[in-house]
């Protein structure tokens, strides 16, 4: 019994996958657990594992093809087995595939479904033998000729017969007057036009005739640009970009965002980090980034502000307040961005957060993350400080109820006890989903984050 292999759902948000590489060939012996191919999803490139024994009988799609979840991509079975049913049936189901091969199969199948063409004047004996009424139609008329549009783009009303005659005689219906109800063009109108003879095409058409001119003429400038001066370059939208587009648009359209910015004194935090990293270097531990301090601060603050660590789920009719704190950290990679998740960050020490974040970020850049490593964040931070961005607003990563946008650490004059002195400050901006987080709730959370960063010894407790 042949087994169809279909495009699996490899992540929560995956809708289609690109078969990036076949790792086995048709005719290869397959055992359960073998890797058949690699599939690029919207998040990562993942292995497609075989769950059955047999011979890889057919690769249905090619490397680089993008197909929706559930579409047939390969067939495993016994050597020499007839799998035409499987291939035919699966192709028939497929609607979304842009796969040209599938489309052709479908067309062929349709053609086969059409009953054999017989002479229309089939003798009546046969009708009696095999009653052919009631949908069992033996012959179908030609494919319908579509209606055209007139100069203003309005649909031309013409009877099906008039359209067909017009097409057969190359008559432009836009130049035929209809005599039927509401100006419908009917047979006699087209026939009258054919009798008159189709007028010569308008002159500008003749000028455009692609005949090579025997001699160069002054007034025939061409506006074709050389390739390297083309007005734009085109690239296909990647799976990741599609996902970013869909999820962030969904977030921005459905979650009413508002923004709270706070300027945090990070003098002590910067000093603490330097001290900790000196120790880390001596003891061979992972260095702590300033971002790790923010991760820890947010994680601790979230424990005290459950609505910021929550999700508004209208379909379920609930606001879900998470008991655990999973910190999503936006990482820029070549193709876009991804948010690996540090789980239970409130319960992890700074060193562990630092080590884990670094490792996840590296694997994100090599597109090597497993789905469970980038799914399930309850809160997200995005840091553009390293690019010198003073402050910015981020779009909430759904279904989170907030996201923290982190700016650079600035050396700036500050007023302390009535005197202007040098200070270290950092602006962070919280984007809140107003369906869950109100202004005061967001402000209180930010105040907690600030307290942790301004008195960073609390992070070590």
């Amino acid at each position: 019994m042949a087994t169809p292999i279909e495009m699996p759902k490899l992540s929560d948000t995956m809708e289609e996958g690109v078969l990036s590489a076949w790792l086995m060939d048709e005719g290869d012996q397959v055992s359960a657990g073998d890797i058949l191919a690699q599939v690029e999803t919207d998040k990562a490139t993942m292995d497609l594992e075989a769950f059955d024994e047999g011979v890889l009988l057919k690769k249905v799609i090619d490397e680089g093809d993008s197909v929706p979840i559930g579409q047939l991509i390969a067939v495993i079975g016994e050597e020499g087995e007839d799998i035409s049913d499987l291939l035919g049936g699966e192709d028939g189901d497929d609607s979304a595939a842009a796969d040209a091969e599938a489309a052709t199969d479908e067309a062929e199948e349709e053609a086969e479904d059409t009953p054999d063409t017989t002479e229309p004047s089939a003798d009546t004996e046969e009708v009696v033998e095999e009653p052919s009424g009631d949908g069992q139609l033996r012959e179908r008329t030609p494919e319908p000729v579509p209606a055209g549009t007139d100069a203003e783009g309005r649909r031309i009303k013409a009877s099906p017969l008039a359209r067909r005659i017009a097409q057969e005689h190359d008559v432009d219906l836009a130049r035929v007057d209809g005599s039927g109800p509401e100006g419908r063009i009917v047979r006699r109108d087209v026939e009258a036009r054919i009798e008159e003879g189709e007028p010569a095409p308008p002159p500008e058409r003749e000028e455009r005739a692609p005949e090579p001119a025997p001699q160069p003429t002054a007034e025939a400038p061409t506006y074709e640009l050389p390739d390297d001066e083309a007005p734009y370059a085109s690239e296909d939208i990647s799976q990741m970009r599609k996902t970013i587009a869909r999820r962030l648009a969904q977030s921005k359209y459905s979650a009413p965002h508002f923004y709270l910015t706070v300027d945090i004194d990070v003098e002590d935090a910067v000093a603490l980090r330097e001290d900790l990293n000196e120790l880390a270097e001596e003891q061979g531990r992972a260095k702590i980034s300033f971002n790790d301090l923010i991760t820890k601060s947010c994680a601790l603050a979230l424990k005290d502000h459950p609505y910021v660590n929550a999700a508004y789920l209208p379909d379920e009719g609930e606001i879900r307040k998470y008991n655990r704190v999973h910190m999503g950290i936006a990482v820029a990679i070549d193709e876009g961005l991804i948010t690996p998740v540090v789980r239970d960050a409130d319960r992890k020490g700074l060193t562990e957060i630092a080590r884990e974040t670094r490792e996840l970020a590296e694997r994100a850049r090599s597109r090597d993350l497993e789905p469970e490593e980038f799914e399930g964040a309850t809160f997200t931070t995005s840091n553009l400080g390293m690019f010198g961005i003073e402050e910015f607003t981020a779009i909430i990563n759904p279904p989170n109820s907030a996201i923290l946008a982190i700016g650079e650490i600035r050396d700036t004059p500050v007023v302390e006890d009535g005197e202007v002195v040098p200070g270290k400050r950092m602006k962070v901006t919280l984007s809140c989903d107003h369906r869950v987080v109100d202004g005061a709730t967001g402000a209180q959370f930010l105040d907690s984050v600030r307290s942790y960063l301004e008195e960073p010894m609390n992070l070590l407790l």
Binding site: V127, V128, G133, E139, R187
Partner: protein, 327 residues
């Protein structure tokens, strides 16, 4: 050829078949002693005796079921409904048992039975006695439905229906029983079920009409001829299986179709013909297909209202001129 009334042609069909095959019998209300409510079976009791020409009680469900049982046991009953309005009380037998028995028994039983009698409106009979049943019975797989319009077809088709191994609903008309026309007296004269008759040839518009409506179509074609249009008139004769090939062939030639059907319009035979033609001949249509039917109301009693209710020649000519874009 002999000139016979429609009722005589039907009687000839039954008589010839019963002479040929002793398994055939006729049962129904008043078919024996009274010679039939419309005298279709006149003299048959005398010829075949009360074993084969049987007066039933007023109990359609009972004698329709009795007929089906007899058919399953090897006989070939002809069940006469005094009118098809009364077939409604036998509905379960006609639509459930007769057509499904062969299928449900895995082919162990066939039901070679004919349900026959007058169908449709017949003057001032009121709403409950003016029903047209052809679309209704045609909707159930397993039933064949025949509705002839002229005596000759009546004879040839009834003989075929009696010989058919499937249940056949054979629809006649009170108003046509007295109609006289040439009827073949050829030996073993049968007309196949499922073949339409092109009654009149023409190039300009096709009119499809069965049973009484056929005569309206022929009169309308005469009137159209006076106006310079040649109508092609097709009588499907059998509603199911429908000879759609013949109709489509004609529409491919004329590019226009008007269907007359004295039934109520919703889900009628005219609806079905219209659907099948647009499905198969869409690119040959130069105009929308129009129908001439009774309105979607119960049949009235008053004669002036009845005239307005039934399809007529004027309305048919009018619809034909519309599809000809001549109005």
């Amino acid at each position: 050829m002999a000139t016979l009334q429609f009722r005589e042609a039907l009687r000839a069909a039954m008589t010839e078949e019963m002479e040929r095959d002793d398994d055939i019998f006729l049962i129904g209300e008043e078919v024996a002693e009274y010679d039939g409510a419309y005298k279709v079976s006149k003299g048959m009791l005398d010829q075949f005796g009360s074993r084969r020409v049987i007066d039933s009680p007023i109990s359609e469900l009972g004698f329709a079921g009795l007929g089906i049982g007899a058919a399953m046991n090897g006989l070939r009953p002809i069940v006469e409904f005094m009118t098809f309005n009364f077939s409604f009380v036998a509905f379960d037998q006609v639509i459930n048992n007769a057509p499904n028995m062969q299928y449900m028994s895995g082919g162990q039983f066939t039901v070679p039975i004919v349900f026959r009698g007058p169908n449709g409106a017949a003057g001032q009979l009121g709403a409950t006695h003016s029903n047209s049943t052809e679309a209704l019975y045609s909707t159930f797989p397993g039933l064949k439905v025949v509705a002839p319009s002229i005596p000759d077809d009546g004879k040839g088709l009834l003989k075929t229906a009696i010989r058919d191994d499937d249940p056949v609903v054979f629809l006649e008309s009170e108003l046509m029983y007295g109609m006289k026309d040439e009827v073949s007296d050829a030996e073993d004269y049968t007309i196949p079920i499922g073949s339409a008759r092109v009654a009149r040839e023409g190039d300009d518009v096709t009119i499809v009409a069965h049973s009484k409506s056929y005569h309206i179509a022929m009169d309308a074609a005469d009137e159209l001829e006076e106006r310079g249009y040649e109508a092609e008139v097709i009588d499907p004769r059998t509603i199911k299986p429908l000879d759609i090939e013949t109709i489509v062939e004609s529409v491919v030639k004329t590019n226009r179709l008007v269907v007359i059907d004295e039934s109520n319009p919703f889900a009628s035979v005219a609806s079905e013909v219209t659907h099948q033609v647009q499905d198969r001949a869409f690119d040959y249509l130069d105009a929308p297909i129009l129908r001439v039917t009774a309105p979607d109301t119960p049949a009235p009693y008053a004669p002036n209202l009845m005239d307005a209710y039934m399809p007529g020649v004027d309305e048919t000519v009018d619809k034909c001129l519309q599809v000809l874009y001549a109005k």
